[in-house]
């Protein structure tokens, strides 16, 4: 659907269900549509169903950079697009001394940031990390932790597949998500938001939407 078609669909659906509700201008409808767009993308991310949001999936290869913090054997990678969610990644590494590898692509393991300290090498902790571990930083970069036997080449040594933020829907920019089934779902969710503005019975839907935004992995 084009933006115009989405606005029309919104108007039709909203008017049928809310004969006594307030009317909305196109700019206001776009606010609902954009909010609904993010919610629907996060729902797909939460269940790791990538096929419905394949238009947002980016894959790229780039160089890692030394991390600014004091942890040894850690790096970071900055995605070139506006990062939303992690799908998978690989590192081009070599290993010495234990389970030797001479520069090959090794799949990374996603961990949570709150347990990342267990993977950090220091005088008291020498973890064996055969698969480099990655976690998402708050600023949208990817932190990488490896062990003392692993060496990154620092030249196109990181491959990342991720979901980027969708572009905002405007009067001149159409929704870029997969038309089937995402456009219809976005319109329906936007209608529910619009209904929730004046109808208390719709608050539960809004609360659910807020929860999904806060905890997209549920």
């Amino acid at each position: 659907m084009t933006t115009t078609e989405m606005i029309n669909a919104f108007t039709v659906g909203y008017d049928i269900a809310n004969l006594e509700g307030p009317g909305y201008e196109d700019d206001e409808i776009l606010i609902f549509l954009n909010k609904a767009q993010i919610i629907e993308v996060l729902k797909e991310v939460g269940i790791k169903r990538w096929s419905y949001i394949s238009n947002l999936i980016e894959n790229e290869t780039g160089a890692t950079n030394p991390a600014a913090h004091e942890f040894s054997h850690s790096l970071f990678y900055t995605p070139s697009h506006d990062y939303l969610a992690y799908i998978s990644s690989k590192s081009y590494v070599s290993r010495s001394d234990y389970k030797e590898v001479n520069y090959e692509w090794i799949g990374n393991r996603l961990i949570n940031k709150d347990v990342s300290h267990k993977y950090v090498t220091n005088a008291l902790n020498k973890p064996i990390i055969l698969e480099p571990c990655v976690y998402e930083e708050e600023d949208g970069t990817i932190a990488i932790i490896h062990d003392q036997e692993t060496t990154f080449s620092n030249q196109n040594d990181f491959y990342l597949e991720y979901v980027r933020y969708p572009v905002q829907i405007t009067s001149v920019v159409d929704c870029e998500l997969n038309e089937i089934p995402m456009h219809e779902r976005i319109v329906n969710t936007a209608i529910n938001f619009a209904k929730g503005v004046f109808n208390a019975n719709e608050q539960a839907i809004l609360a659910q939407a807020d929860r999904i935004i806060k905890q997209p992995e549920l």
């Binding site: 234990y98 347990v115 267990k118 005088a123 064996i128």
Partner: protein
């Protein structure tokens, strides 16, 4: 197995029970050392596991063989606290004595004609309280009777042995074969080539497995304590 291989085996064992994130390295080191000591004790001491004791079969013998050492001491210091014929020997700087396997003492004895004869005596480990109770018992105390003279031995301090010889004896040498204290396992090997545990390599995996079970057991107890505290 190298130090890293043992650590990896520990990680795999705890992962079977859902501990996926690495256990803190120093903690792994401690648990492997607990298990290491417990394993050696079990292989040596029949009171811990009556089915397994030192050299009960070829396999058990091989397991502890890398820890066996020979020791000879010729310097004796008189210690007359318990008996006029008492001496102690002090272990060398290695201070690595753990369990004695076999031992003997060579000494000279001066008979009533003041003629000296050299004997090789069998060492009898005794308890400290047996000194007072048996020292005047001619059937039990250190004497030259029969073919093989007897010398008493007691453990005193971690690096010292007290020997009581038959009266009018002068010690010449003490020789033993013993199980040395194992070099502790470390996650910070200076040289990976030299960091394998000294015990036979066939049981390194067993020690890592034992350490993992000990860790998981403690983890379970701590978790239960936390849950109990949280509920009260």
């Amino acid at each position: 197995m190298t130090s890293r291989e043992v650590q990896r085996r520990f990680d795999l064992e705890v992962a079977k029970y859902g501990v996926i994130d690495p256990v803190f390295g120093a903690t792994v080191e401690d648990y492997i050392n607990y298990a290491y000591q417990a394993y050696i004790d079990e292989m040596y001491d029949s009171l811990i596991n009556p089915a397994i004791k030192f050299e009960i079969n070829e396999r058990v013998s091989r397991i502890l063989a890398p820890l066996l050492r020979d020791y000879t001491e010729t310097t004796f210091v008189a210690i007359t606290t318990n008996n006029a014929s008492g001496y102690y020997i002090e272990w060398d700087d290695s201070n690595d004595l753990q369990y004695i396997i076999t031992e003997k003492a060579v000494f000279t004895h001066e008979d009533c004609n003041e003629e000296e004869t050299t004997y090789t005596g069998k060492i009898l480990p005794i308890k400290h309280n047996m000194i007072r109770s048996n020292i005047n018992n001619p059937f039990l105390n250190p004497t030259l009777k029969e073919e093989e003279p007897v010398v008493w031995r007691m453990n005193i301090f971690s690096d010292r042995l007290e020997l009581i010889f038959p009266s009018r004896s002068t010690p010449i040498s003490y020789t033993c074969r013993y199980i040395k204290k194992q070099t502790p396992y470390t996650i910070n090997p200076a040289d990976p080539a030299n960091t394998a545990m000294e015990i036979d390599s066939s049981v390194h995996g067993d020690i890592a497995q034992k350490a993992a079970i000990m860790y998981l057991s403690d983890l379970r107890i701590n978790t239960q304590k936390t849950e109990t505290n949280g509920n009260t």
